[in-house]
């Protein structure tokens, strides 16, 4: 028997909410980062689920794009994090609010 689409979507929504909550509530920048990855992969899961259900290749294609972009984003983001840590000895994002109006 095959897993129904709804199960994938439910899991995906759960992962997305977990990720969103992490972004909104956690202070450690590294954890915020990981939460963003979680949101991205929740979306990837829906892509793949729909692609399989509708027998369309485009969904899987989109996932590859997301993976590549996520990898790139991680490279840049981690570089920024390291730069912040070097200058301020912390990665607590509540301490990083220089762009306040």
């Amino acid at each position: 028997m095959s897993v129904p689409l709804e199960a994938y979507l439910a899991l995906s929504a759960l992962l997305f909410v977990l990720g969103t909550t992490g972004v909104l509530l956690r202070r450690n920048a590294l954890v915020v980062f990981m939460s963003i990855e979680l949101m991205l992969n929740a979306v990837n899961l829906t892509f793949v689920a729909f692609a399989r259900q509708r027998l369309a290749i485009e969904g899987q294609l989109a996932v590859f794009f997301v993976v590549v972009v996520a990898a790139v984003e991680v490279v840049v983001g981690l570089a920024i994090l390291i730069a912040i840590f070097r200058t301020r000895d912390t990665v607590d994002i509540d301490d990083v609010h220089l762009l306040r109006g």
């Binding site: 972004v23 909104l24 994002i93 609010h97 220089l98 762009l99 306040r100 109006g101």
Partner: protein, 619 residues
């Protein structure tokens, strides 16, 4: 070819003296200044001898200035009988005054600049009188205005001189605005600005349009020729060097308005109303300025008002359709008024710049030649036979009388006659106050040097004998010469009027002699006659300038202050600053949204997304 040379010669003098004059020795500067004008005079004589001048006119087209559809204006020159006379007067009198200037300006540090301006003036004036169409004339018209401004304010470190220059320029702008409008009106209705084409089109133009156009042109003439109501700049123009007053503000530039009317007489002859206005303004100005000259203490300003008055005579002549007589008076006036100014300049030169006649006097002894010259000029101005002014003024008065008999206003003739009387009085007064009595000036006044004396001698000879140009006994050569110019293109009215029958020749002579006697009686022993309340009225120039101050200058200044202090600072600046302040305050109000915390932004994005999804679902 010769026409271009006439204009180009003084222009070359201007370029040389203007660009390199500061590095040239004074003798060379003076020689270039006088030589170019003298050569232009010789060229004018040669050109005037060309048979084409007496025929249809000698023309030269330099290039096509601009073309707009059917409408073409070429930069062309024209010398016919009228402009031949004008060119000869301008270059001839101009040459004499240039020579005189060598002596008069000998000690001035800006010697080269002076001659450069003077040469530019002669070139501009020649362009004005030789212009082949109205637009070229206008270019010359504006250029002489510029030269007038530059030379009135020649000693620009004196505040009065600088202000007078500006005043002359601004007052002329008012008249020139009308002049330009008149030109545009003619260009649109007649379709051409060539003089011959305008003359041909004059008969077919709508009378209303023609009257409007000629009135606008006459407005320009009142500015340039210092007639009522725009005369106010000429008395102040006396701040310039005296030879400039003689050349520009007596002999040539101020007569440009008269020349313009003579040049466009086919148009004016078809506009009867304009002619009446011209006659009335001329007569009123002649009388008004003569009365003011009666109480003026400044010798040069007396002569300035006298010039305004005599220009009034010329306009009177134009208005009563005695145009050849007007041009004749223009010519004789150029001689005797230049002579009077040069004599006044010699006086100033001798006594160190004093022009107040109360501080002059007793100069007949030490400066007997200058005094004699002034007397000749004065007698010519007063209209005593056989001096030049008598013949021309007499012709004008005869014309005015005939005009009155043909239905014109008798008042014009009466005003002309009264002016003749007042003229004789004030010229006698100026003569007595300046030259008679005991020496009022300390120091030793000296006679004029030869370089100043010779031009005065020539002008004195012309002021004495110039009347022969229009005297009946000599066959009126000038009037006969000009006659065909005015008859050919005109309606023929002038044919019979060329030599008016001597109706009442004796009366003006009697009036002039009576004026001189009255002057002697009033001002004997250099008495200061105040004339009481009338004198005060006259010395305020009939309160005309006071009126202008009250009606135009003061309200204009108030308006300027209103615009500068209220409209500018509060209105315009207020609007600009208000916009800036508004944006700034709006920025302050919303800056709280920018917390710098990433999570706030993320929450906002989330909220936005939820809202959008909710809207999408519930739609």
């Amino acid at each position: 070819m010769v026409l271009e040379v006439i204009v180009a010669l003084p222009l070359a003098g201007w370029l040389i003296n203007g660009l390199a004059g500061g590095r040239l020795p004074r003798g060379v500067v003076g020689a270039i200044g006088c030589g170019t004008v003298g050569a232009a005079c010789a060229a004018s004589v040669i050109a005037a001898g060309d048979p084409a001048v007496a025929g249809g006119g000698l023309t030269a087209t330099l290039f096509t200035w601009f073309t707009a559809g059917e409408f073409t204006v070429s930069a062309g020159l024209l010398m016919d009988r009228l402009s031949a006379l004008m060119a000869l007067v301008v270059t001839g009198v101009g040459f004499l005054i240039h020579v005189y200037s060598i002596g008069y300006m000998a000690d001035d540090p800006a010697y080269a600049r002076y001659f450069a301006y003077l040469n530019l003036f002669v070139a501009s004036m020649l362009l004005l009188v030789l212009g082949g169409n109205l637009l070229v004339l206008f270019v010359g018209w504006e250029l002489v205005g510029l030269c007038s401004y530059l030379l009135i304010g020649f000693w620009f470190d004196r505040e009065r001189a600088a202000n007078s220059g500006r005043k002359a320029f601004i007052v002329n702008r008012i008249g020139d605005a009308g002049f330009l409008l008149g030109i545009l009106l003619l260009a649109t209705t007649a379709g051409s600005l060539q003089f011959d084409r305008l003359a041909a089109a004059a008969g077919g133009m709508a009378p209303g349009l023609l009257t409007a156009a000629t009135l606008l042109l006459f407005a320009g003439a009142t500015g340039k020729s210092a007639q009522l109501p725009l005369y106010v700049w000429l008395p102040d123009a006396m701040e310039g060097p005296t030879p400039v007053s003689a050349l520009i503000h007596a002999a040539t530039m101020v007569t440009a308005g008269v020349y313009m009317i003579a040049r466009l007489h086919p148009l004016f002859l078809h506009a009867g109303f304009t002619l009446s206005v011209v006659a009335a303004v001329g007569a009123a100005t002649a009388f008004f300025a003569a009365t003011v000259a009666l109480v003026e203490w400044d010798l040069k300003r007396v002569l300035a008002y006298s010039t305004i008055s005599q220009l009034g005579y010329m306009f009177l002549a134009m208005g009563v359709v005695m145009m050849p007589a007007g041009m004749f008076h223009l010519t004789t006036h150029a001689f005797f008024k230049a002579l009077l100014f040069l004599a006044a300049g010699s006086v100033m030169h001798a006594v160190g710049g004093v022009v107040d006649m109360r501080r002059l006097g007793g100069l007949a002894g030490p400066m007997r030649w200058t005094a004699a010259g002034f007397a000749v000029g004065g007698l010519a101005l007063a209209g005593v036979p056989p001096f030049a002014g008598f013949f021309s003024k007499d012709l004008i008065l005869e014309g005015a009388f005939e005009w009155a008999q043909r239905g014109g206003a008798m008042l014009v003739w009466i005003a002309g006659l009264a002016t003749a009387f007042v003229t004789a009085v004030y010229v006698t007064r100026a003569m007595i106050l300046t030259f008679a009595g005991p020496a009022a000036h300390p120091g030793r006044p000296h006679g004029a040097p030869a370089v100043m004396g010779l031009p005065m001698a020539v002008l004195a000879a012309l002021s004495f004998g110039g009347g022969l140009l229009g005297a009946r006994v000599a066959g009126e050569p000038l009037l006969r010469y000009l006659g065909p110019f005015f008859v050919d293109s005109a309606t023929g009215v002038l044919k019979d009027r060329l030599v008016p029958a001597g109706v009442i020749t004796a009366l003006p002579v009697a009036v002039s002699l009576a004026g001189i006697l009255a002057g002697f009686a009033l001002y004997r022993n250099r008495r200061e006659v105040t004339l009481g309340a009338l004198g005060r009225f006259l010395s305020q120039q009939w309160y005309i300038e006071t009126l202008y101050d009250a009606v135009i200058v003061t309200p204009a200044k108030r308006l300027a202050h209103l615009l500068a202090d209220v409209v500018e600072t509060r209105g315009i600046d207020g609007a600009v600053n208000g916009v800036g302040a508004l944006v700034g305050r709006a920025g302050l109000a919303v800056r709280g949204l920018q917390t710098g915390f990433v999570r706030n932004y993320a929450a906002a994005i989330l909220a936005g997304t939820i809202l959008m999804l909710g809207y999408w679902l519930l739609r």
